[in-house]
Assembly symmetry: C2
Homo-oligomer: 204 residues x 2
């Protein structure tokens, strides 16, 4: 593959973000994770802080609103005034993700990017996950989370990501069939996962 | 890895069996799929034909019987007389799979082998799946299934495998987190999937 958009879904504490970052560095292509919030904010003229608390969290009204024909992507988001901020962020990130993919190769973490870009042939959709024990250690080491609360926070964060993914894509988060390649990061070092993904891109 | 038991879960029509067979050939190690039926039959002195219709199909009574302490693996299967044939086959295949793994490297397709061997560190658990359109073509080409009925048969077979897996392992079939590596076979040729798995084993 010459041009490729690599999307990475990831369980909390699996190191999926770090894998994506290393991969983007190695391949010399842009990397987007939290950056998608500021790009969405810039695009809308809103304060990014407003979006931070609702990032990758589903609201309940968007599908209803879309089904009622109240909003459309073609309308330039002019009718977004009454939408909950979660849905505003989803729509803005949706637009930003599509624009970034049009520009060329990149790595995009989370935010249903695999679903948003489902009509493109140049996407490599990856899911990174790990065993709970590994994720707990990662949560303590990398996110500074208290060991006693690590499992609770992991489950809560994953529940939120899962709801977000299901709500906007209609598919079950973490099912292998939504992705091209799924890798258990408890079994390989970060560098080796990056190597495996590069090998995958080379042979595809 | 020097010694490794490769287990392959697979959607019907994904080509997972062919991948396993090619992989075993390339690595020069034994391959077990339907062979597990005859080994189980031989072990029990039963007619293999009795088992063929119930292979990878769950019955409803085993967990109840086990929970009631009516049967145990240590009892040499002497108390299996009243069990449904599905459960007999599961117990016999469980025993055969453990014995094969003890003998050395091999490839085992289906039959919850990832779950049966969950306490071993030398297992590489793989799941192979594909998009429906690809699987329909494979079902017609490789299994001689009528095109009009292909999707129905694919869904029915997968439903049966899914029930079997959930029933005996207590986990959801096809969830990425049950495996070490999951590969969408619609995106890579059989040879390339084999290459990717060999690369995975090499770097692990």
């Amino acid at each position: 593959m010459d041009n490729y958009i690599i999307t990475i879904g990831r369980q909390f504490g699996s190191g999926g973000r770090a894998v994506g970052q290393k991969l983007a560095e190695d391949l010399g292509i842009p990397f987007y994770d939290k950056e998608l919030i500021s790009l969405a904010a810039k695009d809308s003229g809103m304060n990014p802080e407003v979006f931070e608390n609702v990032d990758e969290k589903a609201a309940n009204s968007l599908l209803y609103s879309l089904s009622m024909g109240l909003y459309s992507f073609g309308s330039g988001f002019s009718a977004m005034g009454d939408l909950p901020v979660n849905d505003k962020l989803y729509l803005l990130q949706h637009k930003v993700i599509k624009e970034l993919a049009d520009k060329g190769s990149c790595v995009i973490v989370g935010r249903c990017a695999d679903y948003v870009l489902r009509d493109r042939d140049d996407c490599v959709n990856i899911f990174i996950y790990a065993e709970m024990e590994y994720r707990k250690q990662e949560a303590v080491k990398k996110h500074g989370i208290d060991e006693a609360r690590a499992e609770h926070i992991i489950n809560k964060t994953d529940k939120s990501r899962s709801n977000y993914y299901s709500f906007y894509s209609g598919k079950k988060w973490g099912m292998a069939e939504n992705y091209d390649l799924c890798i258990n990061s408890s079994k390989l070092s970060e560098d080796k996962i990056v190597e495996l993904i590069k090998n995958y891109i080379n042979i595809r």
